[in-house]
């Protein structure tokens, strides 16, 4: 399970969804704030939703106000950068380039890409965090199970079973 989580996480990096900044966030996480990364990412979702909707609206205007679009996208890009959303950031950069070139069509198209990458990343991250949670829960179960087994084991010792007091639950017959 843990390995599965690790793999999932690694694939996010390998596939370019996340970059080094995400690791920085993970490093900030500690016992006093064990869900820091998830909290930040949630905050990001909240802010992004707003930016994306505003961008959507702005793209509906005719004619397009490129300066405004650029400004909004700059902010959204800043947010994405701070959590390490690599692909999203790249698409944002493309968008801004088209904005500067005043290319309306490309802007719109790129924006669709931005949204797509954002949605994909979000799904993946949500899955990842879910997995982590389950893993933690499982770990708890395991530990609990161990204790349980151990006690049982101890009890069974009395019954004469020869057992090494290891974690390995041994069932005393």
């Amino acid at each position: 399970m843990l390995r599965q989580i690790a793999n999932t996480r690694q694939s996010l990096f390998d596939q370019g969804y996340l970059d080094e900044q995400f690791i920085q966030l993970e490093e900030l996480q500690d016992n006093s704030n064990p869900n820091f990364v998830e909290e930040v990412v949630t905050l990001f979702y909240r802010d992004s939703a707003r930016f994306l909707s505003r961008l959507d609206q702005a793209l509906e205007n005719r004619p397009l106000d490129f300066n405004k679009l650029d400004g909004l996208m700059h902010q959204f890009k800043g947010s994405s950068t701070s959590i390490g959303a690599k692909k999203v950031k790249t698409e944002c950069t493309h968008f801004r380039n088209y904005c500067n070139a005043r290319n309306a069509e490309e802007c719109k198209r790129t924006f669709q890409n931005v949204k797509k990458e954002y949605t994909t990343l979000r799904k993946k991250l949500e899955a990842y965090f879910q997995l982590s949670k389950i893993c933690n829960d499982e770990n708890e179960d395991i530990s609990y199970t161990w204790v349980h087994e151990y006690h049982w084991d101890q009890l069974s010792k009395c019954n004469g079973g020869e057992r090494s007091s290891t974690e390995e639950p041994q069932v005393c017959t």
Binding site: Q24, L28, V40, F44, D47, S82
Partner: protein
């Protein structure tokens, strides 16, 4: 180092999400440590204020800073940050701010903080383009971080605090008497008994080795920070002007100012800041150095920086020898005067440029370091230099003061005072001072400078929220430095700092560069100096305002000033004819200020509507006739009015002088209700 209750409160209220609690232990230790603990813990406990509109970044930064064992307060709005800083003088050691924020430009905030509180400010942005970084440098940022910010970058921010302290220490003249060598007024810890002491001790220990002997450690620790109010700043500027910017030494300034309770160190550190400010202003504009009276190029932000009180203006004035700034300063003054107190954001108190300067062409001095109130009003007396048309050129000092007062608002302290005393010089255009010198807000679109300039002339202190724009005003006589506290940095239009920077004021100064003294020109004209100067300036100099956003047109007199709607000043200044602006407002035509909206596009000529934050290209035609007064100085212009007036003027009169073009960056002329 928590200053105590206040500090904590701030934190909590401000940062709903911040886990203050978790950090408390560290803070408590630092605080409680008092003598013993603090020094060892340095830089732990460093009090950082983080400002960023992006809440994701804010949370991440806070976490990182906490990991560095710093005490963090976060805010998402610049104004809130400024109010925090003001309420807790010495409550913070360093400020980290984002560049792009919706409510106030980061650079403007930077200027404000630098002037008011003199704290080290670190800028950050996802934007790493050279121009933006350069802007940070010219505006006085200690450092510039590129987002995403890494924790390693944050670990070392304490060096900026130490460095600043060190400089302040060194600022003092070692030979000064021992008792004078008190703690410099640094923003710091002195307020809190222990911490302050500790910090100071810590820092002092670091520096002391070298300088220390003269320092009087114990007593000064607790010295309260001196607040440089507008009046005080004006006095300061007056004193500096009197002595001459080159010869102004703290001791003499102190004597001249004759303010009880002020120490040489206070003056010394303030002087240092002022010089930097001036340098920045002049540096930004044109290397040509002329900056007459500009209020300082791009940086000059007027209004926004409240601290500009006088300081800005002075800076402006000083920056380039502002004397010439008149146009700008006038503009600023007007803008400020217009009382746009609205934006309060940065009420720039534009120190009315040396009264002499703006309108009095008398002073050939090329540099008017201080436009500040002191002379503003009168130097020329009799010259109708109404820098701002309609602005009462005679700004008496008291007017000036009144301006101050009126100006004060915005942001709290930004003094809108536009000290533009536009010259009390006799001219009296006596514009109703009401104009609100207070309009400080330079920051919003209103580039007050223009407006304030007018206001200034009105004799009041105009809050030039906008950076001093008065390049245009280049008040002829060198003296007319309009010190607009050009906060142009602030508000300005987006990229370039408007008014201030863009205001052509820098350009103005640069424009003026051509000749070194505007005075000469002006005097030639014999007319109301101010306008002439302006024209002259235009002619001679290229007003290439160097504002980051402004495109400087080195060609003749193009002054690009981020013209804010309130920039009427710019427009008006062009007029060399020295007229009294009285009322004419909108005569800019002689100098026709063409405001061209849009970023750096100077297409507008007269009357182009300037959208907010657009570059208003003000073309000032030099026409000898004096009807210049109009535009800028139309009386009672609120910033908007001024701008509108100016625009109107332009439209109506487009006088043929194409020579002077002031491009105002970011001024939305449109805003002026014509």
């Amino acid at each position: 180092m928590n200053l105590g209750g206040g500090q904590v409160v701030n934190k909590q209220s401000m940062t709903p999400g911040s886990s203050v609690g978790s950090w408390k232990p560290a803070a408590a230790i630092a605080a409680a440590g008092g003598d013993g603990g603090a020094p060892d813990q340095f830089p732990a406990g460093l009090r950082v204020l983080v400002v960023d509109d992006d809440s994701t970044c804010l949370v991440i930064l806070e976490k990182m800073l906490r990991h560095c064992k710093y005490e963090v307060t976060k805010c998402s709005r610049a104004e809130v940050a400024l109010s925090f800083l003001r309420e807790n003088k010495n409550g913070f050691d360093v400020v980290i701010s984002d560049v792009h924020m919706p409510d106030m430009d980061g650079f403007k905030l930077l200027e404000h903080i630098g002037l008011e509180m003199d704290l080290p400010v670190i800028m950050m942005s996802a934007d790493d383009s050279k121009s933006v970084v350069m802007k940070g440098v010219t505006h006085g940022a200690c450092d510039y971080l590129i987002k995403p910010v890494r924790i390693e970058a944050l670990r070392n921010i304490w060096q900026h605090v130490v460095r600043k302290r060190k400089h302040e220490w060194k600022d003092f003249d070692p030979s000064a008497s021992a008792d004078e060598q008190k703690q410099p007024e640094e923003p710091d810890y002195s307020s809190s008994a222990n911490e302050g002491h500790n910090w100071k001790n810590t820092k002092r220990k670091k520096d002391e080795e070298d300088d220390a002997d003269e320092r009087d450690e114990s007593s000064s620790l607790k010295k309260p920070r001196v607040v440089w109010s507008v009046e005080l700043h004006q006095q300061f500027v007056a004193a500096v002007n009197q002595l001459g910017i080159d010869k102004a030494v703290p001791k003499k300034i102190l004597e001249l100012m004759n303010v009880p309770g002020l120490t040489r160190e206070n003056v010394a550190s303030h002087l240092q800041k002022y010089r930097l400010y001036l340098r920045r202003l002049s540096g930004s504009q044109h290397p040509g150095g002329m900056n007459p009276g500009f209020m300082g190029g791009p940086d000059a932000g007027f209004g926004p920086i409240s601290s500009l009180n006088g300081l800005d203006l002075q800076a402006l004035a000083a920056s380039g020898q502002l004397g010439q700034l008149p146009p700008q300063s006038l503009a600023n003054l007007q803008a400020a005067a217009l009382g746009r107190s609205n934006n309060s954001k940065s009420t720039i108190s534009i120190p009315v440029i040396d009264q002499r300067n703006i309108f009095s062409f008398e002073n050939p001095k090329s540099r008017y370091p201080e436009v500040q109130s002191q002379h503003l009003t009168n130097n020329n007396s009799s010259k109708q230099i109404n820098l701002l048309p309609g602005i009462p050129t005679n700004m008496d000092s008291k007017q000036f003061v009144s301006l101050h007062q009126s100006g004060q608002h915005s942001l709290g302290s930004m003094n809108n005072l536009v000290l533009i005393q536009m010259s009390g010089q006799s001219q009296n255009q006596n514009q109703p001072q009401s104009q609100a010198l207070s309009n400080t807000n330079a920051h919003h679109g209103l580039r007050q400078p223009v407006m304030s300039n007018e206001m200034l002339t009105r004799g009041g202190v105009v809050d030039m929220a906008q950076p001093v724009y008065n390049p245009v005003v280049s008040v002829s006589q060198a003296s007319s430095l309009v010190n607009f506290s050009m906060n142009h940095k602030t508000d300005s239009l987006g990229s370039s700092y408007p008014l201030g920077g863009s205001l052509g004021i820098p350009a103005a100064s640069s424009a003026l560069q051509g000749d070194g003294n505007l005075d000469t020109k002006i005097s030639r004209k014999g007319i109301v100096p101010s306008y002439d100067i302006f024209n002259d300036l235009n002619q001679n100099r290229d007003w290439g305002l160097q504002d980051s956003g402004l495109t400087f047109d080195q060609s003749q007199h193009t002054i690009q000033a981020g013209v804010d709607a309130s920039n009427p000043l710019l427009l008006q200044h062009n007029r060399s004819s020295g007229r009294n602006l009285g009322g004419q407002n909108r005569n800019l035509t002689s100098g026709k200020v063409v405001l061209s909206p849009g970023v750096e596009t100077r297409t507008h000529q007269n009357g182009s509507n300037l959208g907010p934050h657009r570059n208003v290209h003000v073309k000032t035609e030099n026409d000898s006739d004096g009807s210049y007064n109009n535009m800028l100085y139309s009386e009672q212009y609120g910033q908007d009015d001024l701008l509108a007036a100016i625009l109107k003027q332009q439209q109506q009169e487009s006088i043929g002088q194409p020579d002077n073009e002031f491009v105002y960056d970011g001024y939305a002329l449109d805003d002026l209700p014509a």
